[in-house]
């Protein structure tokens, strides 16, 4: 990130971005070229060599986030195939038939096929449609569960995606969800207010909590130049341990009990269930759709969103163009935090209805994956959230029907991330890599070129 090279000026200038961009750029180039003075300058400046400067518009991280949609789909496919092989490898019948593979290979092959397909059929039945349900309502219950689980993933994912579009790697969704959860839950169980007003206040408390926690990171980054990855990770810890402390105080415990679990939220503070009480799906999902539209509008139609994207593409150019980079950093982190805050509210007012130290589950980190898979676009994130919701919902049926460990589902998810983070790998597997094109084209995959050269 280009900002890291600023701090040497930071003590002279209150705002690091106030240095003359041109001079700063030259200094940065020299620093890259000479490895910070450790080497003598090369004949050709680093910026003119093959590949691009890490600070340029085509950083690795940026590549990862904005790889083509085809790669996302292929990555999912590849992960599913590998996951199927893993399932087969852990299956008892497969290992039994492998013992006489050469005597009767069909047994082995059919066992492999069976193990993998049974698991994926169960995954589908647990996440979309269960044909064995007694009534139509029961048959669609898995889909409702998928949408329920997807709700916090979508909003937190949007937060991560938005911050990324502004060039910030927001690892802090976890902490933002926790702080939002604390505030929303407290308003939910400690205050007793009339219907509608109570829920509204819960929602506002959560969003404000998340926005503050995220905005604080933005503020620290804009004012001091501290890196947002470190800040957000540390803020996650602060939030988690603060939550654990609170849950050990009587104010956050049930009267007469000393378990670290809060009282149940008032019925007036709970999201209404959209399709009646037989499904868990709650109003939070509608709000998640609204948030997706809002983020789409913000990014593609509003001035603020244009500024975010400009800062994300090249902060120095944005600064030169008269965009207030500090303000954008703070604002985008606050909005990202507010979106993650909606996930916190969905947790305490939607599904959990209590505050425990597991309130954020792993949504804050899954949100990064969701944003990656969605290529940081609002609707891409929405779709990725649905997919991950389906994985999670289906994993239950997979465990019960076939005995496949839930960890396999997590392995599949992790494989997806791995493949998305390495587009050349996926393209290589499917034979899509451009076969040694002209040198001019080499710039298209600068990272592969540079790392290949280094190895």
């Amino acid at each position: 990130m280009p900002e890291e090279r600023h701090p040497k000026h930071a003590d002279q200038h209150a705002k690091p971005h106030r240095t003359t961009p041109a001079a700063d750029e030259t200094a940065a180039e020299v620093a890259v070229d000479t490895a910070g003075g450790a080497m003598s300058p090369s004949a050709v400046p680093a910026s003119a060599q093959s590949g691009q400067l890490p600070g340029g518009p085509d950083t690795l991280v940026r590549k990862i986030f904005t790889g083509s949609g085809v790669v996302s789909v292929l990555a999912v496919l590849l992960a599913l195939v590998l996951g199927g092989l893993l399932i087969a490898a852990t299956d008892q019948r497969v290992s039994a038939t492998a013992g006489y593979l050469f005597a009767r290979p069909t047994d082995f092959l059919s066992a492999v096929w069976d193990a993998a397909t049974r698991s994926y059929v169960a995954l589908f039945q647990g996440s979309v449609f269960n044909p064995r349900g007694a009534s139509l309502a029961v048959r669609f219950a898995p889909l409702m569960d998928t949408l329920t689980i997807a709700t916090p993933l979508i909003t937190a994912g949007l937060g991560v995606a938005l911050a990324f579009r502004a060039g910030l790697f927001n690892i802090g969704a976890q902490g933002q969800i926790i702080i939002a959860g604390i505030l929303a839950a407290w308003v939910g169980f400690a205050l007793h207010l009339p219907l509608v007003l109570h829920l509204l206040l819960v929602l506002v408390a959560g969003i404000v909590g998340g926005a503050l926690w995220g905005g604080l990171v933005g503020l620290l980054k804009a004012r001091t130049g501290a890196h947002e990855v470190i800040l957000t990770i540390m803020f996650n810890y602060i939030a988690l341990y603060f939550l654990r402390y609170l849950l050990n105080t009587p104010a956050f415990q049930r009267p007469g009990e000393s378990n670290p679990i809060s009282p149940i939220l008032d019925p007036t503070a709970i999201y209404p269930q959209i399709f009646g009480s037989q499904y868990r799906l709650h109003l939070g999902f509608v709000l998640a759709i609204a948030a997706t539209i809002l983020v789409w509008w913000l990014l593609n139609r509003s001035t603020v969103g244009f500024e975010f994207r400009a800062v994300g593409a090249n902060p120095k150019a944005a600064l030169t163009a008269g965009i207030n980079v500090s303000r954008s950093t703070i604002l985008v982190m606050a909005i990202a935090g507010a979106l993650a805050g909606m996930s916190g509210v969905a947790q305490v007012a939607g599904t959990e209805k209590v505050l425990t130290d597991g309130v954020a589950a792993t949504y804050g980190f899954d949100a990064i994956t969701v944003a990656l898979l969605g290529r940081s676009t609002p609707w891409g994130t929405f779709a990725a959230g649905l997919l991950f919701g389906a994985f999670r919902a289906g994993a239950v049926q997979m465990q019960i029907q076939t005995g496949t460990p839930i960890d396999i589902v997590l392995v599949v998810q992790s494989l997806i991330v791995l493949f998305i983070a390495a587009p050349p790998l996926v393209r290589a597997v499917f034979g899509l890599n451009p076969r040694r094109k002209k040198p001019a084209k080499a710039g298209k995959t600068p990272q592969a070129a540079t790392t290949g050269g280094a190895a």
Binding site: Y100, L101, F102, Y241, Q347, T351, T356, G358, I400, G452
Partner: protein, 369 residues
């Protein structure tokens, strides 16, 4: 140039891997095919017992694992069917429980207070299904949920008495994972056992790590970070303690590591394990294992499942006590010769007194039944 070299290397390694793989297949795949025909294992009973873990999973070396193993043993002993589902996060509780009910479980076992609300909801929605929950009780009770709880303080009291009777430095210690009642109940009993010894013998053995009156003491903050347990234990050793009882699941291994090091350095230190007999379940520390405060979850699970299978389900809590061997002080194993006969008979007498009600062991976390 480099690329061609790499390609060659790659092809070479691929061929190597393929041949290794093929050899492995040849070696393993030579068995004879079994005769076609049904080899399906017959289950003797249509009864299905199910279990839902909390986010610790069935390999937590703590109550999820003990309960799961108990149910697995029941599967073998009683010929029932078993369904299990692991929760990865608190969000999984409700869907997991619903799926268990949908899978026609006769009895669904849930583990830990975190599942309390979800179990209550599902029990109310499915009045014909039976549930049992470990380490949690409802007030007021629910008609189709049987709580399985433990008066661990009774056995921990004996452990405290034993520690006070065998300490050489006059200082013993304990610490917990997270400050929750199922943890502090161990520490309460332990402290009381030491106090009782002091009263009887006129000694002044000190306990580090837990203040029963203030209900506050040393905790590692979770059940994961073994290094924190190690640090705490080293602190206790520096303050003169020679016996430590960690009540922190796997974090107890951190304490074991610190004590092993101290023993290797020539100090006479010992550990008291919790939940299971550590001499058997944590053999890497058996040289320092004085005894263990055991919670017999497997037996409890088996008892409850058997009762339900025989149509004798009740919602009366199963309370593990010294009287029904639900909680116990484990054998001394290799330290047997170092515990004096007098102390052993005193411990036996204490156990009888507690079982007979002559001696009351009280803890704020004791089951209120």
């Amino acid at each position: 140039m480099k690329n061609t070299l790499r390609a060659k290397f790659k092809r070479g390694s691929m061929a190597g891997m393929a041949s290794v793989g093929a050899t492995a297949l040849l070696l393993t795949g030579c068995g004879a095919a079994p005769d076609a025909g049904g080899t399906a294992t017959q289950t003797a009973s249509d009864y299905t017992g199910c279990i839902v873990s909390d986010s610790g999973g069935f390999d937590d070396q703590s109550f999820n694992q003990s309960s799961y193993e108990g149910l697995k043993k029941t599967e073998k002993d009683l010929g029932i069917k078993v369904n299990q589902v692991e929760s990865k996060t608190n969000n999984d509780f409700e869907p997991n429980l619903r799926a268990m009910v949908a899978a026609n479980c006769d009895l669904t076992l849930t583990v830990g207070f975190l599942l309390g609300d979800a179990t209550k909801t599902q029990a109310a929605a499915n009045p014909n299904s039976h549930f049992a929950i470990i380490d949690f009780a409802y007030d007021p009770p629910i008609s189709n949920v049987k709580p399985i709880i433990y008066d661990t303080a009774q056995a921990a009291f004996l452990a405290g008495y034993l520690a006070a009777g065998t300490t050489k430095t006059g200082t013993v210690a304990t610490f917990g994972g997270i400050k929750i009642p199922t943890v502090t109940i161990f520490m309460d009993g332990y402290v009381d056992g030491v106090k009782y010894y002091n009263e009887k013998k006129g000694t002044s053995v000190k306990v580090l790590g837990w203040d029963k009156a203030a209900q506050d003491g040393s905790f590692t903050g979770d059940f994961e970070k073994q290094d924190v347990g190690k640090q705490l234990t080293q602190n206790f050793l520096d303050q003169g303690a020679d016996i430590v009882m960690p009540v922190a699941g796997p974090v107890g291994k951190g304490a074991g590591a610190a004590l092993n090091e101290a023993k290797a350095a020539g100090k006479d230190v010992r550990m008291i394990w919790v939940d299971s007999d550590g001499f058997l379940t944590a053999p890497e520390y058996k040289d320092i294992m004085l005894s263990s405060v055991m919670k017999q979850m497997g037996e409890a699970v088996e008892t409850v499942v058997k009762e339900d299978k025989d149509g004798k389900f009740t919602n009366t809590p199963y309370v593990g006590t010294l009287a029904n061997d639900g909680v116990q002080l484990a054998p001394f194993h290799s330290y047997d010769s170092q515990v004096s006969a007098d102390l052993k008979s005193e411990l036996d007498q204490l156990k009888k007194d507690i079982v007979g009600g002559k001696l009351k062991v009280e803890s704020a976390a004791s089951p209120k039944v």
